[in-house]
Amino acid sequence: MLIDGTFIEDTYAEAFGLRAARVLVTSDTAAWAQTAALSMTGFATSIIACGCEAGMEGPAPAATPDARPGVNVLLFARTVADLQDQVVRRVGQCVMTAAGASCYDALGPADDSVRLGSLLRFFGDGQQTSKRIDPALADAGRVRPRRLWRIPVMDGEFVVDDRCGVRKGVAGGNFLILGRTPETTLAAAERAVAAIRLLPEVILPFPGGVVRSGSKVGSKYRKLIASTNSPYCPTLRGVVETALPPDVESVLEIVIDGLTVEAVGAAVATGARAACGPGIVRIGAGNYGGRLGKYLFHLRPLLSGTTPPGQAAAPPKPR
């Protein structure tokens, strides 16, 4: 299968389930909302060492609870307890500290919830107050009452939701861009990132949305659970068994986390299509033989549009 002269490998990306939360960060200006969200999503590239994966979700919300500019942030962690820890740390240290910022739960229907304002409120040293907005007056479709905390800070008040919803999400959707030169590969990755960032319900947790240090499971060192993806390292040709065609000099990976399988599948398809073009030899995907992840995204059906939405993970996991 070829798209714009780029060969699409007959392979699949393998993704796994994590717990997800979505918070909305608002401020007086879009720039300050962006600043707070950027700070909150720092050092959140991989659950391997960062505690969570986080990023800013593509389109800015059309409306926010306090009618100010806002940015949606998605956070993913292994367990609800991990998410609890990360959400409170990040909102407390990066949003509460940002000028003019407020933080709201923006997940919608949730399986579970974690404490947010109900923990951060203690910063108010007894001067914090809560407000509860009755469901009859709350946003349409919201069934739980909205409880907010108003924590006094030096520029006024930090307003934050009492709790934050949690539900199952999908992490680790990916594809590999194999290019002739580092320049063309990076340009293709940037095209893919730009296209994916327009989509809802997904984030690209790595720097600039691009990963250069793709990993494989395990290592020769017993303490490491992951190590460099040696078959895709151009400088290891001739040293280890390579997966690279002879004319490939550079490989970059796009990793996608999302709230649903459908959203991640759509992002893989959109990004991979945008990456195809001159100088890009192949589009591949990272997988572990179906052993690690619950969700499989087969590139060819996704890119040819023959996989109906909601079945991006077909076929079932091999045993």
């Binding site: 608002t26 609870p65 306090d66 009618a67 100010r68 407020s102 001067q127 107050t129 809560s130 407000k131 509860r132 907005i133 009755d134 469901p135 009859a136 007056l137 709350a138 946003d139 349409a140 479709g141 069934v143 009452p145 909205r146 907010l148 108003r150 006024g156 008040e157 307003v159």
Partner: protein, 301 residues
Amino acid sequence: MSLRLALREWPFPPGMEAEAPDLLPERLAGMSRRAIEELPIRIGRRTERVGDFFDVAGALDGAGGAAIIRTSAAGVLAASDADGEVVLSGDLTPFARLGAGMTAGRMRIAGPAGPCAGAGMRGGRLEIHADAGGRAGEGMTGGVLAVLGSAGDDLGGPAPTATRGVDRGVILVAGSAGARAGRRMRRGVIAIGGDAGPLLGTEMLAGTVVVLGRAGEGVGTWMRRGTIVLGQGIAPAAPAFAASGSGRFSFWSLYDGALRAAGVPLPEAWRAGRFRRFVGDRSGAGLGEILVPSGGADDAA
């Protein structure tokens, strides 16, 4: 389909109070006209039949319009004629406790209501398309009470012997309210489109009271926590309240949007959420606040 009960005439002298505790959407749902006519009305010491005083027409299906309540609060203050509601019409001033204890559904009173309308409501929506008597919404713990006219004294206050007034729920009054509105309120929202009488929000424990017009003397006396937003009139005075500066309160935007969606005609200038803040009552816990729109009230007093 709606159930309509029209009061034919009231042959008793003024002051003779009546109660019809079964005229609630959740109880009337699915009942036949004959069964409704046999329901009791207590008049003084006597017990009479609904059918002796009301013309009953139509029927109420299922849960009495509960779904409407859960899906939308829009237009609460707007006159409505939706299906799936109980409509009581006539001069219902002699009837106390109309809609008291409602848990679901929708009831419209097309005429003035007597005391304690909507007392102890736990859910649903009660609309009074004229004035409500005293103690409306007393001890509410949920639901929406919308009064399109004015309300009497002790709106949303505590029931006798109770320590809390409104504890969850929403009360919207298009006109004015009498004395002591929101007394000992614990949670929820009371919005008054006109003026409020003296001692607004006295002994408030928490919650939010919004008055678009003026309030009488003693606003927030002995309030412990909670928020009173005062559109016009005299700002609270020292020593009970201390000026706490002015600024933009972003939490207000959530109330602003929700109250506007419910049909409360908030001034356009309030959208910005800029208020002068007064904290008190400092003779007690002092964590309450009175917000006065910047430039909106006279703070010279």
